[in-house]
């Protein structure tokens, strides 16, 4: 517990530089900030709950759509992003720890590492979005898997006799495809062709009706989460700049702590999104 003579002084004639005038003590200021942050996080939880509610209703009514459509997501990239975000949560908690222990260098290094990992997350997300874009697995009227399918086959140079007939009725409600067991594990799929299941008669099974809504849910949920990651990156960079100026110490690091709370919240949302979107069986 080392303290500079400046911060040792009680409030009164000589105010602490970081203590806003409406607070009596640094402790009161910190606790008030924390309460404010938790109230904000409560509104964030309620906002995301609307999306989780859509997910729950839709999965309740259309389990076959989820089983089928989730196969189009790359669970390995999802798992990679989960690891990246968990590591970034550790570095953020580590940064708060460094601030608490007055380790300026550690604080800056850990904040920088958190920003780096956050950028990695967005990079992987970008790869995934690009993949969906390429295969026309987009929500609403832009959901045209048959285009992506034909395009993928044309690129690969392999003939795709079923592409047309498989694609055209994709949005029609289908009967049942018990034969569908998902892509073989371990084998990376080559375009959408690898996803095209065949039923017992050798006919390609069609996508269930309303499949496009899964991608609507996927893009809105991961998109809103991605916006939160971007916002988090913004505030962490702001905190990092302030840390470079030496504004934080063991006597004052409330902004680091509060930004950390926000970042961990974003991590928790992804912890739920990963199994719910990528690991549907």
């Amino acid at each position: 517990m080392q303290a500079t003579s400046e911060t040792d002084r009680p409030s009164g004639e000589h105010r602490l530089p970081f203590l806003a005038h409406q607070f009596d003590t640094p402790r009161q200021q910190f606790q008030t900030g924390k309460l404010g942050m938790w109230l904000f996080l409560a509104t964030e939880i309620l906002m995301f709950s609307g999306l989780f509610c859509v997910y729950a209703v839709y999965r309740h009514n259309h389990p076959e759509v989820f089983v089928r459509a989730a196969q189009f997501l790359n669970w390995k990239l999802g798992a990679l992003n989960t690891l990246v975000l968990i590591c970034s949560s550790l570095t953020m908690a580590w940064a708060v720890h460094c601030a608490h222990c007055n380790q300026q260098r550690g604080l800056q290094a850990m904040l920088g590492l958190t920003v780096f990992l956050g950028l990695c997350f967005m990079g992987v997300k970008g790869i995934e979005y690009h993949d969906k874009w390429k295969h026309h697995l987009l929500p609403g009227v832009n959901f045209k898997p048959e285009l992506g399918h034909a395009g993928a086959d044309a690129q690969a140079g392999t003939p795709a006799p079923q592409a047309k007939q498989a694609g055209t009725p994709a949005l029609q409600p289908e009967k049942k495809s018990d034969a569908w067991t998902g892509p073989e594990p371990g084998k990376p799929p080559a375009g959408l062709a690898a996803f095209q299941p065949q039923d017992s008669a050798g006919e390609p099974a069609k996508l269930p009706g309303y499949t496009h809504i899964f991608f609507g849910i996927y893009f809105v949920m991961t998109g809103l989460h991605g916006l939160h990651v971007l916002a988090g990156l913004g505030v962490i960079i702001w905190i990092l700049r302030r840390a470079r100026r030496g504004e934080f110490s063991s006597a004052y690091y409330a902004p680091v702590d509060l930004v950390g709370l926000y970042w961990h919240f974003v991590d928790i949302i992804w912890i739920y999104l990963f199994p719910l979107l990528y690991l549907v069986r």
């Binding site: 009680p10 989780f52 209703v57 309740h60 580590w94 009967k175 069986r281």
Partner: protein, 119 residues
């Protein structure tokens, strides 16, 4: 934390409460990585309708770990926990009532609307 010589206000009042040592943070991190692997493995085993509940259970354990240690809810004032619980209560009410409602309709009224809905 022992009370410092300076009475009020405490200069290190940033953290009147206890502080987690670094080892704990690393242990939580390792647990989170392990649980991520567990959720992937669990999704490979076909347990029917149980799969989603297992996935949600593992995710909740991870969320609680993050909440207690990374977000140090363990040492937080009770009022912050009350705020969190209020939000979660309304999330459960919201999703619970909506699911009760959606389950109350006869989905067969629309042909092919929900062909494989579990009853």
């Amino acid at each position: 934390m022992s009370t410092p010589a300076v009475p009020i206000p405490e200069p290190h009042a940033q953290d009147g409460e206890r502080h987690l040592p670094l080892v704990w943070l690393l242990a939580v991190w390792a647990a989170l990585l392990g649980l991520t692997a567990a959720t992937v493995v669990a999704s490979r085993i076909d347990l029917g309708a149980m799969n989603v509940w297992i996935a949600l259970g593992i995710a909740t354990v991870k969320a609680v770990l993050v909440l207690l240690f990374f977000m140090h809810m363990l040492y937080e004032r009770p009022i912050n926990f009350v705020v969190l619980c209020t939000a979660l209560l309304f999330v459960f009410l919201f999703i619970g009532f909506v699911l009760m409602d959606t389950g109350a309709y006869n989905h067969e009224l629309i042909p092919d609307y929900a062909p494989e809905m579990r009853r």
